[in-house]
Symmetry: C2
Subunit: 363 residues, 2 copies
């Protein structure tokens, strides 16, 4: 029976990179490797232009029914002034929250062929393989009150509320421990227990779940600020990092950059497995954004989007072999020397000139 | 008339690095360059051991009366189990809050002599000179509710509250714009307005203050996650970064690491100038922590603490020339090749061996 994939290209380069993935899906269907039925929807600015909302109820219904969602990117200067509740990001946040996609997996892998594209020294990043497990449906992103009020004296007062419950922390750290067992068996849990009560509860729950269920996995607690520092200093000390929604947002962007480019990193946002069918809601998206500055130029790096399809094959369809083949194809392509501009080596001026200068010089 | 400096060495290497600064103060007094009267107090674990609180009322009174405070570092595994309200960090947070030290200045400078100690490529960090202006008395650190409650079903629920008012944002961004005018005249304001209401207000206030009072200064708004990424990718694009308490905590630690070491970076935490006297409360401290792992070994890098004294000379005592001389002495010492272990070059194994191998090899 065919599986349903909903494509939500979104805005900017989202459309361009999604086209690459559609071509791969069509090829897999034609080759008899898969039987995917795809449908399309609008999200972000594109949805606002069409329906004056960041995602329509019709597309939310499609998303809820789909076996997996492939998401491009949202946003851009064009929608800077739309009402706050309809801003492009709201569509993405609603998908995450309404589908309860609490577990965001963000691998940061530095391909050997790309170690020179990083701003870090080759020996610091070569062979890097980190997995950030970010809580995605709680914390500051969704807690209430979340408001701006005008005070009697005319001043405004803005409030965001970070909330975490035992249940929310338990389920995300279990995901991290399970994944660590399939990797190097080491989890770093990042919070600010020295300042935040949510950090105190986070550390307490992680410690207990570890002792009761995952004592075989290595665990280290690290302050989120120190984690940011260590990611820059000695990133290869990390295997799995589990953290909350806001810290995960920032730490995963820093980690992304270690690999040499914004354009390389896929992500998976997973719900809980259904108790009877075992299937889970899932959305796959590149970590990078909609890149309005390069939109329409045909230069966008599709690797993060293609890697997101590979994650879908792995986590939604159990097609491990096909996922490995797709990941392998990315590595082979890079090793062959093909590059988009974002991952061209940071060479010294001299070798850069050698690489890019036209063959014949001016007289 | 002599000026009062309160020394709060705190815990771990705090005592060791403070001793270096005491020697410099004594030398300045003897040389007739300054007339400082110093007093000492306890903070953090040291205060808890003596008084069962993270800072005593007596020392708070001294801090309030002092012309400037030099602060070492607090914390360590020894105090992991003290009651939360008396944890070592609480003493520091109380000093910041009660003295209303809202403006935290964190320069990140990469000395040419140290560019090789960084995990980043030399050309990416050489000549780096960033100033992070972090709001220090608001946001998630101090908003209420801030609590852990046990629910009826036995689950716990932790809450932290991020609060910012117009007033709080105005006064910190003014500090950033003023400082930018003395530097490269460019401010990046980092927030998450796409997710947080406090980010929306932050961006709105920064935009207005800029238009009304600082239109001559360059201003760019940047999302905090992107800022973390750009700090790793191309840090030299930044001049002044202004941001909230929590983002400032994380971004400044990442920035610190760009310079090659935890041990290099001073900071100043300033209050508002008094309307009549013009003097302001101020606390100066290294960005690094108490480093229990190297405490007592005599290997701690005192540069961040000495640089903090230089900042005190500059911001509390108007001794610009002396501050420049002290900063110059740091640069000269580094250029002469002197190094603590944390800032020894990241050399290739071969040159490292050359550097560190004993003169005569074993037979
Ligand atoms: C687009 C934005 C709402 C989103 C976030 O903050 O989570 C993005 O930065 C991400 O990391 O997926
Ligand atoms: C010690 C801790 C409370 C403090 C903070 O989080 O502000 C530290 O990390 C800092 O950056 O000064």
């Amino acid at each position: 029976m065919s599986k349903n994939i909903l494509l939500l290209p979104g805005d900017g380069i989202g459309t361009e990179i999604m086209a690459e993935v559609e071509a791969i899906i069509a090829w897999m269907n034609a080759a008899g490797i898969a039987d995917f039925a795809t449908d399309k929807g609008l999200v972000g600015g594109a949805a606002y232009d069409a329906h004056k909302v960041s995602i329509s109820e019709e597309d939310m219904a499609k998303a809820t029914a789909a076996d997996a969602i492939l998401f491009g990117a949202v946003g851009g200067p064009k929608w800077a002034d739309v009402p706050y509740e309809h801003r492009p990001e709201a569509g993405l946040l609603r998908l995450r929250k309404d589908l309860d996609l609490f577990a965001n997996l963000r691998p940061a892998i530095c391909y050997p062929a790309l170690a020179d594209a990083s701003s870090l020294k080759r020996e610091v990043v070569e062979g890097l393989d980190i997995l950030i497990v970010r809580e995605l449906t709680g914390g500051t992103y969704f807690g209430s009150p979340k408001e701006i009020v005008t005070l009697e004296n005319g001043q405004k007062r803005a409030v965001d509320t970070q909330v975490y419950t035992t249940f929310e922390i338990e389920r995300i750290v279990r995901v991290a421990f399970e994944l660590a067992r399939t990797r190097n068996n080491k989890v770093f849990s990042a919070e600010k227990h020295n300042v935040m009560r949510s950090g105190v509860l986070w550390k307490e729950v992680v410690t207990r779940v570890h002792a009761e269920e995952y004592a075989d996995v290595g665990l280290e607690h690290i302050l989120a600020d120190n984690c940011a520092m260590q990611l820059v200093r000695r990133p290869k000390q990390f295997d799995v990092i589990v953290t909350d929604n806001l810290f995960g947002d920032i730490l995963s962007d820093a980690a992304a950059m270690l690999t040499g480019s914004l354009g390389m990193l896929p992500s998976a946002s997973l719900g809980a497995p259904d108790a009877t069918t075992g299937s889970r809601k899932a959305l796959y998206e590149p970590v990078h954004g909609s890149a309005p500055d390069i939109t329409g130029k045909g230069v966008a790096n599709p690797i993060a989007m293609i890697g997101s399809l590979a994650m879908a094959l792995r986590y939604s369809f159990g097609m491990i072999e096909a996922a490995e083949k797709l990941d392998g194809a990315i590595a082979t392509t890079l090793a062959s020397g093909l590059r988009t501009g974002d991952i061209a080596a940071r060479a010294s001026p001299r070798s850069a000139r050698r690489r890019w200068a036209p063959r014949c010089s001016r007289p």
